[in-house]
């Protein structure tokens, strides 16, 4: 029952947050909505005993990433309220229709085949086997996944080098109105 309550609450928060992201006129509100979703998911991770993941979710995502988002929002003008009237003809109904299509197709596939599988597995799973403590997660991370772990280094280097390159690119562009670099 606890899990059900937690699920309902956090699911409600997550979905509301997500809807806020796509509905809010002000980007700051959208960011707040995303933050809410992230926290709600962190709660669910805890329910799943994915402790480390939950922690990282809060620290990295809610902490670092969202800060970066807010920073950029501030940079490009927090006061700018987006005009949410659609300018592209049919874009909005078409978008919803198309996603509905995906939903329909995916859902049909989902329910047609997999429904009988999910409860079965839930019964079989051993909760302790997936207790995501730091140690438990670290072991595969640094043994069988070590190469992937190393590869993230490449990813971050790219991100850093790319950001620097793009930032420096505008230093000598006189038309640039913004000041300073990211």
């Amino acid at each position: 029952m606890v899990e059900l309550a937690l699920f309902v609450i956090s699911a409600a928060v997550a979905v509301s947050g997500a809807i806020a992201v796509i509905r809010a006129r002000n980007p700051v509100y959208a960011a707040m909505g995303l933050l809410a979703t992230l926290f709600a998911l962190a709660v669910i991770y805890v329910v799943h005993l994915a402790h480390l993941v939950a922690a990282v979710q809060v620290i990295v995502y809610a902490g670092a990433v969202m800060t970066l988002f807010l920073f950029v929002i501030m940079l490009i003008g927090v006061d700018k309220r987006e005009d949410t009237t659609e300018q592209l003809s049919f874009q909005r109904p078409v978008a919803i229709g198309l996603v509905g299509l995906v939903l329909l197709g995916g859902g049909f596939l989902w329910f047609s085949g997999a429904w009988d599988w999910l409860p079965l597995v839930t019964e079989a799973a051993d909760p302790q086997a997936t207790n995501g403590t730091v140690q438990a997660v670290a072991e595969p991370l640094f043994t069988s996944w070590v190469l992937a772990f190393e590869a993230t280094g490449l990813l971050l280097t790219i991100a850093a080098a790319g950001a620097i390159a793009l930032a420096s690119s505008r230093q000598r562009v006189p038309r640039s109105a913004g000041s300073g670099g990211a």
Partner: protein, 483 residues
């Protein structure tokens, strides 16, 4: 705790590239050498990578059952080594094509070089891993570098536009891909493809609906990367907006990475499920060939035209994927090898004609090129005819291989569609040739030039050599099988 087998040579090329990138970045902030030295360093890294890839190819006798290095994060098979080789050749030619563009970037050259090296390492990992998350990482490493390179120009507004379009749509596609991976994980409990059918062995579900859903999403994500229709719409805009010097690299490396990963997934893990994915691939291939060919014939910009042609080529390559099994891997590899060289050569011409940092290459600028630069016009013509798949060029051999493999696998109708669309596509290549040879230049402007004029020459040489005597390369390709 089981420690994975550490085999540095198994990731030798990536290692060299990463070290090269690091060296470039560090040297840039410490010694601040002139560009040619940095570029030379990058070139050396790539050359070393090529050497290592060849060494891997020779050293790895394909054998199933051996423990994979790094706990199954990379695989020591010849699809991997020959795929790496291809990625590295693309990188080397891309570096050569972008040389003058890089040289003009001043301080930013080091970052650009690092992006190229790291992106190459990413695609290199992508083609040589049997692990889906690792594949995703490789894909993202490569893709991020491509997003950045697309927007690298400081002069061209449209470069930014290309970058942001590429980035947003690419992000969407990546999300779809990894969501598909997560569904496959949910369905099978595995993230590594392993050998033939391994992924599906442990599955405990009776109906594979989730797997099909996941597989469809994975295919869609990769289709985006290789610009297969209907997931191609980014390609024309990005090719047009990106700096000319990088466009070839951008176009070619994504295709190599995407297709070889796709082949690995479909052939090794999902070979037993071919009845499920074959229709998907067939539909995407048909759409790609039709839309790519028809869309290209009305383009007025050479780069958009090449982008659409790339869409059509994606369709042809997917036709080869239909062959399934070993045959799919080797025909796709051969096609890619042939095609990417031509694409890089073609974009080297584009860079030389339009300027390496330009965004957009209107067809009108090619009018009378045969008089302004007979060499560029002639090489471009050969490359275009090669892409069109006319005999005596490697493009024909590649198409032939793909068609024959697909027909052998029982997809004659797809081959018929393919040959017919290739006739339509012929028209677009002819349009460019017409402009170059039969049009009069409005004004005889001197060509911007890039100093990389040898790249199209090399591409032409390869195109004709492997068109006339494809035997060795076909033999080489025939070994490119996944474990």
């Amino acid at each position: 705790m089981t420690f994975p087998q550490i085999d540095w040579l198994a990731i030798g090329p990536e290692l060299v590239l990463a070290v090269g990138a690091a060296a470039v970045l560090l040297l840039d902030v410490t010694l601040r050498p002139a560009f040619p030295r940095l570029g030379g360093l990058a070139a050396m890294a790539m050359a070393a990578g090529i050497g290592l890839a060849i060494w891997q190819w020779m050293a790895w006798v394909p054998a199933a059952g051996q423990p994979l290095p790094f706990g199954g994060m990379v695989v020591a098979d010849r699809l991997a080594s020959s795929g790496r080789l291809l990625v590295l050749v693309v990188a080397a030619l891309g570096l050569a094509t972008g040389w003058s563009l890089l040289a003009a970037q001043g301080r930013r050259a080091a970052e650009a070089l690092a992006l190229m090296l790291l992106g190459t390492a990413g695609f290199s990992l992508m083609v040589s891993t049997p692990h889906l998350v690792m594949m995703f990482l490789g894909l993202e490493i490569g893709s991020l570098s491509l997003y950045l390179l697309a927007g690298f120009s400081r002069r061209e507004r449209r470069s930014d536009e290309a970058a942001i379009k590429y980035f947003l749509l690419g992000g969407l596609a990546s999300a779809v891909f990894i969501y598909g991976v997560s569904l496959l994980f949910a369905g099978t409990g595995h993230l590594d493809l392993g050998g033939q059918g391994h992924l599906l062995e442990g599955t405990i579900i009776t109906t594979p609906a989730v797997i099909i859903l996941g597989l469809a999403l994975v295919i869609v994500g990769l289709s985006f990367k290789v610009s297969a229709a209907p997931f191609h719409s980014w390609a024309p805009d990005v090719y047009q907006g990106a700096p000319a010097g990088f466009t070839g690299f951008l176009a070619a490396s994504a295709k190599v990475g995407g297709f070889l990963a796709l082949v690995r997934i479909l052939v090794t893990a999902f070979g037993p499920m071919s009845a499920d994915w074959e229709p998907i691939i067939a539909v995407v291939a048909t759409l790609s060939m039709v839309i790519g060919s028809l869309g290209a014939i009305v383009q007025d910009d050479v780069r958009r035209l090449l982008a659409y042609s790339g869409v059509a080529h994606a369709g042809f390559i997917l036709t080869g994927v239909m062959a399934g099994g070993q045959e799919a891997a080797s025909t796709v590899w051969f096609y890619l090898a042939v095609y990417v060289v031509q694409v890089l050569g073609a974009f080297a011409v584009v860079a030389a004609v339009s300027g390496p940092e330009s965004a957009g290459s209107p067809l009108s600028a090619y009018r009378g090129l045969s008089r302004r630069s007979p060499y560029l016009a002639a090489t471009f013509s050969v490359l275009l005819l090669g892409m069109a798949g006319l005999p005596l060029t490697s493009g024909f051999v590649a198409k032939f291989g793909v068609f024959q493999a697909a027909w052998t696998a029982g997809f004659g109708w797809l081959v018929v569609v393919a040959v017919l669309t290739s006739v339509i596509a012929l028209y677009l290549y002819l349009r460019v040739i017409v402009a170059m040879y039969m049009g009069e230049a409005e004004e005889d402007l001197p060509l911007p030039g890039t100093g990389s004029d040898w790249v199209p020459g090399v591409a032409v040489f390869a195109t004709l050599l492997f068109g006339l005597l494809p035997g060795p390369l076909l033999d080489f390709a025939s070994h490119a099988s996944p474990l």
